[in-house]
Each structure stands twice: as structure tokens, then as C-alpha cells.
Symmetry: C3
Subunit: 288 residues, 3 copies
């Protein structure tokens, strides 16, 4: 498997893209730390009076529906429209869609009103948006929501359908991550079960994906969001593996794992990603 | 000392109760991580439009008054009433009661309006609610608020009185924790002074208690909130001891201790609790 | 270099000053933990109905403009005026000033309306307030905003000018920190580049500075805010150095560094500060 774009992590550390996050207060600190550790720059701002100015200075925008409230949806719409008008990538995380109507409706409204570049969620959330309502269990995907043999085909279809309707790349995360733009599909087999024992790993991937999307275009050719989303998922999953390896070696638990995840993203290299990424289906049409 | 219910941690890890937290933004991430590390599931949501739907899907509700604002009190009342109507346990943490009138009044209103299952606070907070106003020093209990020989009797009386009036189990935490339902009283001598050198250990105990309260009933017999609250306090205190043992061994300070606390709760077993719990007075009437 | 006041850390751990923080939700937990680890006490509260009561019980106030929203500015004004009327020190952190008009205007309004004791920001933020608008790159100072040979003179002038106009001590942090009261100037050369790879190190310094400012006066002589601010910057920078030394020894990355920073502030002693502080220009007039 050869990634079409080379040295994305190295470029991220050189360019330090500024990622504007309108996000929840539970994991905001972790997201900021994850971006900084990776080499990017975070800015959190949600006051409607300033989000347009803030996103104008940023390279990418993250809209995360965790701890959503009414006022924040307006800020997301303002920032999203400005980002769209300036051609900046938008990553939407429909946290809790399918679980609470307020979130599901907000997610749908944002998807309809904004040209999202990437939509990332767990299986429950993506299925809820693709198929209509679907019961979920909190914001952490339950076992029944895993993308596994039994429901893989249904998941791929739902995600690809949402991709076609929304024109966004869909990243459906779980034990295995599924990335699709409706035409191409790639499964990323990196990661570790411990990533579900700490909060915010999904939010971190949102932000990391946005940072990769925010890298400058080269020779007039903008990066392919599908490829960048796959790369982000591979980096993130690999960091989970590296974090666990060190944690286990030192007899640590969930606390040590969380610390080592930040360690990993601050030290992981493009070479390690090329060697450690476990991708399936490549970047070609799954139909072909 | 034999706990009437067996293997509560094992059951928690199997059932993964979903705990809806309406809480402060200072420790929300820590609370989510503590629940996940222990084996439970967190969901944070405070928008009045969705809290009733969210709590309906949860097994327990936590109302924590840290960084309280006017709108959040309404969300707490909505969620609390729905939880009550569905028979779901409610844990109230009156953060800062006694220190600021707004918090004291909010705490009183919530206690009067909702059938709280457990009320957990430090001595200042509980005394303020039990006896009327009482000066406190921030949200972390000061030395003068410790439950010690000098004021033990007054603390027990105040807590038992609040328990009878509110019909809730009262958990008054400090160097020694005091758990009472107005009839039975138990002191939990687990814990470590370092737990006061990091923020959120009280909030973590709120959530862990709610998770235990949210476990399913067995053979039609619902769990006893008093016993569950004692178990949660013992688990939490023991995790503090385990965390400090490892931290000291590795010459760490407050940062390492905080990490090891999450490690501990992710690895602690029921057997360790049975062996390490240091309880006084057992589950019998203190009068008897 | 001999600090005029002795044993400030020891006094902080004995007096445990209560620091009221009206701050952002991204780093609020880190700030609370940093204060607790250092030996002080945090209280976070921003509801306008209670901030006056809360600040009345505190020894110092921090106003941090991160994740600012309209309602929070009112709370800051209420708390600030009460603090001023009671003679309590105020530390202002104009996060994002120069980058977003809403923040710049809020910062200016607060500086005009309140007798700030210390204003701490990166070079972009301080220059924006001293010279009018100035483009910044997010809330983390970019390379171009470093206080280096090339722009040192301009930075010193701008900071000293802001100090004279605001009557506050200005702390401009970066690779080297600059502290000035408009008359005296001191450069603090402590710190480590990793401090820019985690979020909140600026917010932590705000709070630590406030804690030192909140120590009681001795023999009727209140502490000198300039000296206290220099001491706080030296302690904080030294903790960064100690944290990195341990992190490097253990082959850690950004996650381990962050943990070790809390370790360091919980264990650092006045003696280490006296020996490790790298100050320039001392406490005398730079003109003399």
C-alpha cells in the first residue's frame, strides 16, 4: 500500500495548520493537546460574534456536537458558511446523533446547509444519519454498533449512501474504521480496544483529520480528502497501538494509556505510518 | 466485613451502566474518563431540549453544581424529574453550597424538588445544607472542615439529619468518608491525602456512585443505595491508595498520582476491595 | 540575583490562597490542577449572580479571555469591580487579543475599567493591546511573535508602554519571558520549548501568578507585584525544565511532559528556584 501523498506528518509539523474547533467542553482540552502534540495549532472559539473572524484565520474547521446547546448551533452555522465561502475544509462530528433528537436534527441541518468535507462518527451516529433514527447507547458506540462481519455490508452501504447525499467523505470509526467517499472505500484496521476506555479519541481524530485537510495544496493540486482522512485514521489508530505497547510494557492502565497516546502522536513519523498502516481495499472503487 | 452484594465491580464492567452527567466544565473530562476507566459509560448533556431524552436512555443521573449557571439549574430539574418518574437513581453534588448563596439555594431547591438517591459533598457543603449557612473555603474542603475527632459527632448528626429530611443517602467525604441513610452510618477510612491535591476526585466519586446505583436489580431485589454508596467510596478511596503506592515508588508528584488514579480504577478488582476496604460501624444502626 | 521576598513557595503552601478563576473551558481543569499541585486552592465560577460573593472569599482573581462569550464579560466586570473595591489582586489574560476583534475589544474594556495588577499574554496579544491591532496566529504565539534579538527592543517598549498606561505589571511570555512595570524590566530565561506543545501553560502561569499575588502582606508591607510576577515566571519556567529533564530521561513525549509539569510544580522548592532562576536585568530600572 503506497499513500499517494508523502510525508503528511512532516508537512503538518512544518506548516502547523490552525484548526478552529467549535466543540464540547468534555474533551476540548484533549483535542487542543492532541493537535499541539501532533504539531498543529488549535483555536477554540464559539461566540457567534467572533467565529467568522476566527475561522477566516484558520486552515480548517471542526464542528463537534458534544455538549451541544442551542446557541452553539448558530455559531457552527456562521463559522461553517464562512469556511465554505473561503474554501476551507469542514469536519463534522455528529456526536450523539440517533441518540437524542436535538442532536440528530442539528446534525441533519448542518449537513444540509454546509458543504462538509468529512463527517466522522461511530456506527450508530452514521447509521442514524444515513438511515433515519437508530437507537444508540450514549456517545460511545456499543458492541452492537461495531462494524463487524455480520453488519459490515449494511454499514458500508449506509456510509456510502450518506457520502453520496452529503458529498462528504464519511469516516465511520469502530474496531475497524471505514472511510468512504461513496465511490472508494477503505477499511483501516489500526487501533486498540483501550481507545474506547478513554474519552475523546473520536474528537481527537476529528481534529487530526481537519489538520491534514488544512495542509496547503501542492503544485496547484489540492489534497484528496478521502486520502487525507484515511491517513489521519491510520495515524490515529497506529498511535493507539504504540500507546498500548508502551503502557503494557510498564503495567499501566487507562491513565497511562491516555498519556502515552499523546506521547505517540507527538513522536510518530510518516515512516512508521507507511510501515504500520493496515489498510484494506486501497483507494480503488470497491466495486472494481 | 462482608459486603451484602458481591462482585459489584465485575457487574459494572459487564453491564456498563450509562451515566448521564449534568456537570461542571472543570472536571467533566476527568469524570468521563473515570467512568470509562472503571468500566461504565458516560454521557454529558445539559441542553434543556434534550436532557429528558438523554436521561431516559441512561441508568443513572448525576447533578453536579460546579460552574453552575442559571440555565443549567432548569436542565437539572427537567432531567431530575424525568429520572424520578422512571425510577432512575439521582446523585446530587452540591459543589460550593454554603460558600455562595446561588449554589446553596440551587442545592436546596433541587433537594426539595427531587427524590435524590445520594447527596455527596464535603463537610462544609453537607453542613451548610443540614444546618443552614456555613462559611466554606472554595470548593475544596479546608482543614477546618475535616471530619475529625473534634467535630465527628456534629458531622454525623448533621448528615443523618439531612438524610432523614431529604430521604437520600448522605456521603460526606474528607480524610474519612461518612455514609449515612439517617439510620445506618458507616465510616470509610480509605483514601490518601493526595486526592485533595488534584481536582475532581469528589466529582469522580459522584459518578462512580451513580454507576453502581445504576446496576440492574437482581432477582427483583433492587440494590441498597446505602450499601452501594459505601462500596463506591471504598473503591474510590482504595484507588487513591493504590495510585499513591505506585506514584511514590516511581518518585512522582501530583501529575503522576492523577494518572495512576485512572490506572487504578481501570484495574481494581472486587477481591482487592474486599481485602482493602477499611470500614467502621458496618451496615448496622449506629445506635444498636 | 537575590529575590527580595523569601520562601514564597513555602508561604503559598502554608497559606493556600484561594484563586477565583473566570476562565475558558479548554484549560480550566489544568489550571485547577496546577494551582492544587502548587499548593494553592482554585474556585471556578462565572455565573454573574455569584461572582461577587465568590471573589469576596478569594485572595486573588484571574480573568482569562479564552472561549469568551458575551455573558462572561459581564461576570468578569462584576467580579473585577468587587475585587478592586476589596483591594484584591487581578490577573488578566487577554487570550486571542489582536486575533479577533471581540477579544481585543473585551480586553481593552477590562483594562480600562479595572485596576489590573498583572496582564499576561504572548507577544502578539501584548503588542495588540500596546500598539493597536496586530495579526496573530491562533492563541499560541507563532514563531514570528517570539521575543528575540530582532524585535526585543520593540517588545520591551510596547510592554513598558502598556504597563504605564494600564498601571499593571506586564508579563509577555515566549521563549524568554519579559516582565515589566514600566520602570523596571526583567527577562526570565527559564522554560522549555515543549511548553508550547501542550495547551494551557500560559493559563497556568496566570493562576500561579495570582496565587503569589494573593499571599498575605508581611509586617504591613504588601508584596511587590513586579517581584511576585517575576518569581511566578521563574517557578513556572523552571518547572518546565524539570518536567522535560524527567521526560527525556524516560523517553516520553508531549503526554509525559504534561504529567511531569504537574509533578514538578507539586515538588519544586524555593531553594531550587533561587538556584535555577535565570534572570536578566534584575529588579532595577533598565535605564539606570
Amino acid at each position: 500500500m503506497i499513500f499517494p501523498e508523502e510525508n503528511l506528518l512532516e508537512r503538518l509539523r512544518r506548516e502547523r495548520p490552525l484548526v478552529h474547533c467549535i466543540t464540547n467542553y468534555v474533551t476540548a482540552g484533549d483535542v487542543a493537546n492532541y493537535l499541539l502534540a501532533a504539531g498543529a495549532s488549535p483555536v477554540m472559539a464559539e461566540e457567534p460574534k467572533e467565529v467568522e473572524e476566527v475561522v477566516s484565520a484558520a486552515q480548517a474547521l471542526v464542528l463537534n456536537l458534544g455538549t451541544l446547546h442551542e446557541g452553539k448551533v448558530s455559531a457552527m452555522e456562521l463559522a461553517g458558511r464562512r469556511a465554505a465561502s473561503l474554501g476551507k475544509p469542514i469536519v463534522l462530528d455528529p456526536v450523539g446523533a440517533g441518540g437524542a433528537s436535538f442532536r440528530t436534527e442539528a446534525a441533519k441541518r448542518l449537513i444540509e446547509g454546509l458543504p462538509c468535507t468529512v463527517i466522522r462518527g461511530n456506527a450508530s451516529e452514521i447509521l442514524a444519519l444515513a438511515q433515519g433514527t437508530h437507537s444508540v447507547r450514549g456517545v460511545d458506540a456499543g458492541e452492537q454498533d461495531e462494524i463487524s462481519g455480520a453488519n459490515l455490508e449494511a454499514c458500508v452501504k449506509a456510509a456510502a449512501n450518506l457520502a453520496r447525499v452529503s458529498k462528504a467523505v464519511i469516516v465511520m470509526t469502530g474496531k475497524t474504521d471505514l472511510v468512504t467517499d461513496g465511490r472508494r472505500t477503505c477499511r483501516v484496521r489500526n487501533g486498540h480496544p483501550m481507545m474506547k476506555r478513554i474519552t475523546g479519541t473520536g474528537c481527537m481524530l476529528d481534529a487530526l483529520t481537519a489538520a491534514f485537510l488544512g495542509l496547503s495544496s501542492r503544485e496547484g493540486r489540492p489534497g484528496d480528502p478521502f486520502e487525507r482522512a484515511v491517513y489521519a485514521a491510520a495515524v490515529h489508530g497506529l498511535c493507539g497501538e504504540l500507546a498500548w505497547a508502551r503502557t503494557a510494557e510498564e503495567n499501566g492502565g487507562a491513565g497511562a494509556f491516555r498519556m502515552r497516546l499523546f506521547d505517540a502522536v507527538s513522536m510518530v513519523t510518516d515512516r512508521q505510518v507507511l510501515e504500520g498502516a493496515r489498510l484494506e481495499d486501497g483507494f480503488r472503487d470497491t466495486e472494481s
